[in-house]
């Protein structure tokens, strides 16, 4: 199909920075089977980036991709994936994606493109200007050395106020593997900033005057949008509020739905008092205040408003105004972010000066956000901060760093929880200054390599939360037992999967969760209460598979896996059920081509399997089970010596996890001995060419034996 009937923009833009050539491809003809987003990125890497390519080689490609639902009115559709050979993957770089929200993805679609593939390397700093059909490679000499904010401002002034700029800061320019790209001021994709820097690509700025066509019936579309809004909860699809309220049967003090009537956005002018119906679909944005959730109730008085991504009513990027940081640290008094990035500064400290929610803690967050989001330094899901703490507290630095460099670091400020410490350490890392700055800028694997520290010293220590391959766990056994473990074995970076944890943490009583689980995954036993784990079973494996497939689907469609899936809801009249077919219903209406849940899940599985194939190819290794799908030792230990399956421990049992992996591989149709897809499985998913190439390379289970 040469032209799109809806959903897809229809074109993929290619920019070769080595030759200056700019080209266009048809999206659907080449990439429809992998939908878009990370699926498209994986396909490009499979087809065009040979095994053994390094992340900073000109032959590596950067695939900025939106999805078919991006730029529509589907809630939470602002996601762009940036797929590449991922530089922090250790001991060898492998495929990975950074993900960013904001408005870059939608603008790319409005300009007429589903994806931008950046190839080669410019011989001098450049930025890419996209204004609908007009695409230019422009000189960025005047921007090189600037932070992201200045770059964004300058390019916005040059292009006009309706452009979106995705830029790197000093970390990316310095080709730090821990560099990130940021669009719309605070929306980052980790780990890919250095790849941009290696290509001499300072920024991509996009203006788009088009729209995304919806092929299906408009009334049906609007009805489905309204329905989706009606099943939204708060941040991370927590479907019950954190406080008892007249309209809610259930509440959960740990819920991220914190917008209780009577609370105020105290730094707004004038302050905004939260009032009215918490279920009002026009007031969903008031449910979430990430700062109040993560930093404590004090943050309400610093809150200006919620900010966020295209068409997302959740607004998880909380904008804060803290005047004292300008006086004390010489930085702007406004900043916004969510989750780890909101806590970037605070997490460096074992204990901020005045406790969790105190002024110093909030100031540390402000200083951290200011520096990291301007210099473009990624946290690797907090591993950067945990690494520094372990290196310092464990005495590694004292014995390994030169005494002069060690003395140059203001450890007294670290010890006192003084946010001024961040003014030293963050630029040190982003600028790759000195031995410590350089090692930390390269990611956790560099710590092992550079200082000859055995990986096991991290992998045995649960306080590091280190998982494998240079990356930490991301919602593993501590949240979801075997399901979390399986998910964390599958990627080459931290898993970034929220399908499972958003369900486990949705706030509903266990019995209701188990009832919903029975309807979706076939048995209430698909789910355990946290820390009350029962042995592995096939339903947990099914849920792990579903979680991974939905994550890949979200990354391919451009909807947010931090907010979805939406299989639970706040609606008591639905028995708190959400809708497991939402994604396929939206895609069908957007494209005008009917696709049911099963078929779309198959597409998700195809994408996930392509990621697996790329990993196998680039590792040159078919035995994923013992060489890739690893679980750190701390998972099999309990600080108090509690046995697995006793109430109150997240300790897993090695034999049970082996069984869980068996069940998972079996459900995936993969070979149990190697954890690799068979040639037949590749073929059945429409990846026959991929399977054949791996067979020739003796990288399928059959050929490898």
């Amino acid at each position: 199909m040469a032209a799109t009937s809806g959903g897809f923009a229809g074109k993929v833009l290619r920019v070769d920075l080595s030759t200056g050539k700019i080209g266009i491809q048809d999206t659907i003809e080449r990439y429809e089977a992998v939908l878009g987003g990370a699926g498209l990125g994986y396909r490009v890497l499979w087809d065009e980036v040979p095994a053994g390519t390094g992340p900073f080689d000109p032959a590596n490609k950067l695939v900025f991709a939106a999805g078919a639902l991006v730029g529509t009115s589907v809630p939470c559709n602002g996601r762009a994936t940036v797929t590449t050979i991922f530089p922090t993957c250790w001991p060898r770089p492998l495929v990975g994606s950074g993900h960013m929200g904001g408005h870059f993805a939608a603008k790319l679609k409005y300009a007429g493109y589903d994806a931008l593939i950046v190839e080669g390397r410019a011989d001098k700093p450049v930025w890419i200007m996209i204004r609908d059909a007009r695409v230019e490679i422009r000189d960025a000499g005047h921007l090189w050395g600037s932070g992201i904010r200045r770059t964004t401002l300058e390019l916005s002034q040059e292009m006009g106020p309706d452009c979106v700029v995705a830029a790197i800061g000093q970390a990316g320019e310095n080709q730090a593997p821990m560099g990130m790209v940021i669009n719309s001021v605070s929306h980052s994709a980790g780990g890919v900033g250095g790849v941009m820097g290696a290509k001499n690509l300072k920024a991509v700025a996009v203006q788009g005057s088009g729209a995304v066509r919806i092929a299906g019936d408009k009334a049906e579309w609007e009805k489905l949008i309204k329905f989706h809004l009606s099943i939204l909860g708060g941040n991370n699809q927590h479907v019950v509020p954190s406080f008892p309220t007249p309209q809610a049967e259930y509440y959960n003090p740990a819920s991220r739905w914190v917008g209780q009537p009577g609370r105020r956005w105290g730094a707004a002018k004038p302050p905004v008092e939260l009032a009215g119906d918490i279920y009002d679909l026009n007031r969903i944005a008031y449910r979430t205040n990430s700062a109040a959730y993560f930093l404590g109730g004090e943050a309400w008085k610093y809150t200006v408003r919620g900010n966020g991504c295209t068409a997302c009513p959740i607004r998880c990027h909380t904008m804060l105004r803290v005047p004292s940081v300008t006086v004390r640290y010489g930085i702007p008094d406004m900043a916004q972010n969510t989750c780890i990035a909101l806590q970037f500064g605070r997490m460096f400290f074992k204990q901020p000066g005045d406790g969790k929610g105190g002024e110093a803690a909030i100031e540390a967050c402000m200083v951290g956000m200011h520096l990291a989001d301007d210099m473009g330094l990624w946290s690797n899901y907090g591993q950067l901060q945990r690494d520094l703490r372990k290196l310092y507290e464990g005495g590694y630095l004292k014995t390994r760093l030169g005494s002069k460099e060690y003395a140059s670091i203001p450890w007294d400020k670290y010890e006192n929880g003084d946010p001024a410490f961040l003014l030293d350490i963050i630029p040190r890392i982003a600028n790759r200054q000195g031995e410590l700055g350089d090692v930390l800028s390269r990611g956790t694997g560099a710590i092992f390599d550079h200082w000859s520290i055995p990986e096991a010293e991290w992998a045995r220590d649960r306080t590091t939360t280190y998982w494998k391959m240079g990356h930490p766990k991301h919602h593993a056994n501590e949240d979801d037992g075997q399901c979390g473990v399986i998910i964390n074995t599958q990627y080459n970076r931290d898993a970034q999967c929220h399908s499972h944890t958003n369900f486990v943490r949705n706030g509903l009583p266990l019995e209701i969760q188990r009832k919903l689980a029975a309807a979706i995954w076939g048995s209430p036993d698909a789910l355990d209460a946290p820390g009350d784990y029962t042995p592995a079973n096939v339903y947990k494996a099914k849920r792990a598979r579903w979680s991974l497939v939905r994550k890949e689907l979200h990354d391919a469609l451009g909807v947010c896996n931090w907010m979805g899936p939406w299989v639970a809801s706040p609606r008591w009249e639905r028995g708190y059920a959400g809708d497991d077919s939402l994604e396929s219903r939206f895609l069908s209406l957007a494209t005008g081509r009917a696709i049911d849940r099963e078929e779309l899940d198959r597409a998700g599985e195809r994408i996930f399997t392509l990621h697996r194939a790329l990993t196998i190819r680039d590792m040159g290794q078919v035995d994923m089970r013992s060489k890739h799908d690893l679980v750190p030792p701390w998972v099999f230990e309990d600080p108090n010596g509690a046995a697995p399956f006793t109430k109150g421990t997240t300790r897993m049992d090695p034999a049970d996890i082996a069984l869980a992996m068996d069940l998972f591989y079996e459900i995936m149709g993969w070979d149990k001995a190697t954890g690799a897809p068979t040639g037949e499985r590749y073929a059945s998913l429409g990846l026959g060419d991929v399977g054949e190439a791996l067979r020739v390379g003796k990288l399928t289970p059959e050929s490898g034996r």
Partner: protein
């Protein structure tokens, strides 16, 4: 006796309950009858039904100026009307009265909190037990300082002391986390080790985003 169902009076009575739930407030039969009388709709109820046996009536629902027997009769008939109204629920309050609410507007959870607001010990104890039984989880003590509980630290301390001394509350106990937070749970529904685990987990969730 008025038949149950869709009569204008029955619907008006249900609407009166909904109105109270919107505030949010629990409604007794007396409250509903007063609201109906205000609107000129309650006269039929205020008139005694011939041959009715008064012993079913609830004398606490007496409207001003009505004779006790007539009022009791009215309350009983109102109760019968409300019993079969869709979307209206009832329970016996701590005071012994039957109270009404519309769960769509005022959930049972919140209704029970409202009912116990004047009895802090019952309020705290039952909330702890419900959380321990249904979710299951311990609750942070600071929960009771926030709306809708709105207890001061001193009141909470007094409640905890009273429960510690009261035989009926010996299942209510606490677990302290490593960062000093205190969580309350009922040993009828949660074992100490598990409650301590859940409390620790709850306190560290923000560091596991």
């Amino acid at each position: 006796m008025t038949s149950c169902g869709t009569t204008g009076l029955a619907q008006a009575a249900a609407e009166a309950v909904r109105e109270a739930s919107r505030e949010p407030r629990l409604a007794t039969c007396g409250d509903v009858l007063a609201m109906l009388l205000e609107r000129g709709l309650g006269d039929v109820l205020a008139t005694p039904a011939s041959g009715r046996d008064d012993e079913e009536a609830d004398p606490r629902g007496v409207p001003d100026g009505a004779q006790p027997a007539a009022a009791a009769d009215a309350a009983a008939r109102l109760a019968a009307l409300l019993a079969c109204q869709p979307g209206i629920a009832a329970f016996v309050s701590l005071s012994g009265q039957t109270v009404y609410h519309a769960p769509e507007l005022l959930s049972r959870t919140y209704a029970l909190i409202l009912d116990r607001k004047d009895s802090p010990i019952a309020l705290v104890a039952e909330e702890i037990r419900t959380n321990s039984r249904d979710y299951p989880r311990p609750v942070p003590v600071k929960l009771f300082e926030a709306p809708p509980f709105d207890l001061s630290p001193e009141e909470i301390e007094a409640v905890l002391r009273a429960m510690a001394a009261g035989a009926a509350y010996q299942d209510i106990t606490f677990a302290a986390t490593t960062n000093g937070a205190v969580y309350l749970f009922s040993s009828l529904h949660l074992k100490r080790e598990y409650a301590a685990f859940l409390a620790e987990r709850a306190e560290t969730l923000v560091l596991n985003p």
